[in-house]
């Protein structure tokens, strides 16, 4: 099976939040970047499918500026066979449809049997790129998938529903799945894998210029207003503990 994994590079979770001077994003100067966590689970699922099958190819695709190549290299070190870097410095000004179109352009000529991606990104969290990509490619999709099992006619997947419910869905190939975290245990890159990655193909292709204005526009970002008035408790650990116990006794009344 030929599997494409669409990956996004995002700021690390504990990234410092300083709003940029244009008010539309955070300062990127002091950010460290990493693979979007749900995409890491999509990669893991792809690698395990290939390993179970004994044959196949896993191709990782990522759109963004030059820095995303580090994330692609890491995916190669974990076991992906080759990588495609879609070079684009203006992703922030493209909406989901524009980003998915760039991915569709790059993926189409590969004619994969299966496309996997994370269910949403840790930074923008729109949760749509995978489904939009499937729609642009004219293939069926299923979202929030915990487990993938190849069948004679395609795939049987385990889709997560709300409140602890699940559902099996059968799909023909080619298809796209958005992967939920927790279905597999993530692997680390081995030293051997890191060494091997250096010899694997990492192809760079340019993104086509954005076609037309975006359908939605981010106007400004700002720190959220607090929903509750939070009383901050300070002091040494013992002093803080004593303050909390007091609250538990006299305010919350659980002691």
């Amino acid at each position: 099976m030929k599997i494409v994994v669409a990956i996004k590079q995002v700021p690390e979770r504990d990234a410092p939040i300083h709003i940029a001077s244009d008010g539309k994003w955070i300062d990127e100067g002091d950010l460290n970047y990493t693979i979007n966590e749900p995409d890491a689970y999509a990669l893991e699922e792809a690698l395990q499918l290939k390993e179970k099958n004994g044959t196949g190819e896993v191709i990782v695709v990522c759109a963004g500026p030059e820095r995303v190549q580090s994330t692609l290299r890491e995916a190669l070190a974990k076991g992906a066979d080759r990588a495609i870097h879609i070079e684009a410095d203006d992703l922030g000004s493209r909406d989901t449809l524009g980003v998915a179109q760039v991915l569709a352009d790059a993926v189409k000529s590969e004619s994969p049997d299966l496309i996997l991606t994370g269910l949403q990104s840790d930074d923008l969290g729109l949760g749509q790129t995978g489904v939009v990509l499937a729609e642009l490619l004219g293939i069926p999709s299923a979202t929030i998938i915990m487990h993938v099992e190849p069948t004679a006619s395609g795939l049987k997947v385990n889709r997560e529903l709300e409140d602890g419910w699940f559902q099996h869905v059968e799909l023909p190939l080619p298809a796209l799945l958005t992967i939920q975290s927790g279905g597999n245990k993530l692997r680390y890159a081995t030293l051997m894998g890191i060494k091997k990655a250096k010899t694997k193909e990492l192809k760079t292709v340019p993104a086509a210029a954005a076609s037309g204005a975006p359908a939605i526009t981010l106007e400004r970002v700002y720190l959220p207003e607090k929903q509750k008035k939070t009383e901050m408790l300070t002091g040494s650990p013992a002093e803080i503990a004593a303050k909390i116990v007091e609250k538990l006794k006299f305010e919350v009344r659980v002691l």
């Binding site: 504990d14 929030i144 529903l161 409140d163 602890g164 939070t230 909390i244």
Partner: protein
């Protein structure tokens, strides 16, 4: 028609409760814009649901019915709604931000050459739609700039379902044209992995643990606090993803929704998916090393610091006060 259309969600004749929150959002947006709000319900036999909707303040209720819509599929819903939208031409289409909407609404938006503004937490004049970025650390104002309809999904708990205005409206049947080979995916019946043995919803006190705990071997620190307080132990999704605690102890959109008297969040940053599962708690205490962690937005009492220093002291102090 123009105006606002709210797409309700039902399964086997039962509403998804978030539908009425989206309906309240739709009515309020329509009032703000000086236009009318309608609603649509989709299925194979939805007459009792549509007649229930006809008692709300709506311009029209669309009962979108077809044999192929009895069980949810993305292909069926996208095709049916695309036809309804083409015929009725609403300016705004609102959905509850459910797992099902996440499955099909992005594809529907693509058919309409639009982009869904997903998981919206507030609607301001303009209209400006507010979304959360970076796991809730940042808010962003979005505007629809396309020339077609504007699609928006509403986060759970953003609007109150009891704010839905009563009234009366007429039900119009809408029968989409759906070809027999349209549905590519074959959905199975919903099931539960195993019988739930932990009912967090009944616990008066919950101690919940997140990524900040670092590794499984450290869980003893929070287990001791939970036992000192007579509390149930719960966790955010990453802890259960790692297999450190069973999935049934997970609080959040994919786990249990709780509203205990006291919720102590230890090392939990407070991603949106977690907050929707616990923000109804009467009191929240948050202990986290990151002062910008969104958990502090919903906390009554906050401690910025090292949980490995604070939690053992707290356990000691709780035990001392009990003896």
């Amino acid at each position: 028609m123009s105006g606002v259309l709210v797409v309700m969600e039902q399964r086997s004749g039962t509403w998804n409760r978030m539908s009425f929150e989206a309906l309240a959002a739709g009515q309020q947006l329509a009032t703000k814009l000086g236009t009318a709000c309608s609603a649509a319900v989709i299925g194979a036999g939805v007459d009792s649901l549509s007649s229930e909707l006809s008692k709300k303040k709506l311009a029209k209720v669309y009962a979108v019915q077809h044999d192929q819509l009895g069980t949810y599929t993305a292909d069926g819903y996208v095709a049916a709604l695309e036809q309804l939208i083409q015929q009725t031409a609403p300016d705004y289409i609102l959905f509850p931000h459910t797992y099902q909407v996440r499955d099909f609404a992005p594809a529907l938006a693509t058919r309409l050459k639009q982009v869904l503004i997903s998981d919206v937490i507030a609607i301001h004049d303009g209209p400006v739609f507010v979304r959360q970025l970076l796991q809730g650390k940042l808010n962003a104002d979005y505007r629809h700039s396309g020339s077609g309809p504007c699609l928006v999904s509403i986060q759970a708990g953003t609007f109150r379902s009891d704010a839905v205005e009563e009234g009366s409206s007429t039900v119009e049947n809408f029968s989409p044209q759906l070809s027999a080979d349209l549905l590519r995916a074959k959905p199975g019946e919903p099931f539960r992995e195993s019988a739930q043995t932990v009912d967090l919803t009944a616990a008066p006190v919950i101690v919940s643990v997140g990524r900040g705990i670092g590794e499984q071997d450290n869980l003893g620190v929070v287990e001791e606090l939970a036992s000192a307080l007579g509390a149930e132990l719960a966790a955010s999704r990453p802890i259960c993803d790692n297999g450190w605690l069973p999935m049934e102890r997970q609080v959040g959109s994919s786990g249990q929704t709780v509203s205990p008297k006291l919720y102590i969040a230890v090392g939990i940053s407070g991603a949106i998916q977690h907050l929707v599962g616990m923000k109804g708690s009467k009191s929240v205490i948050a202990i986290n090393k990151d002062e910008n962690a969104p958990i502090f937005e919903v906390a009554d009492y906050g401690v910025v610091g090292d949980l490995f220093e604070i939690v053992p002291e707290l356990t000691k102090a709780v035990l001392a006060s009990r003896s």
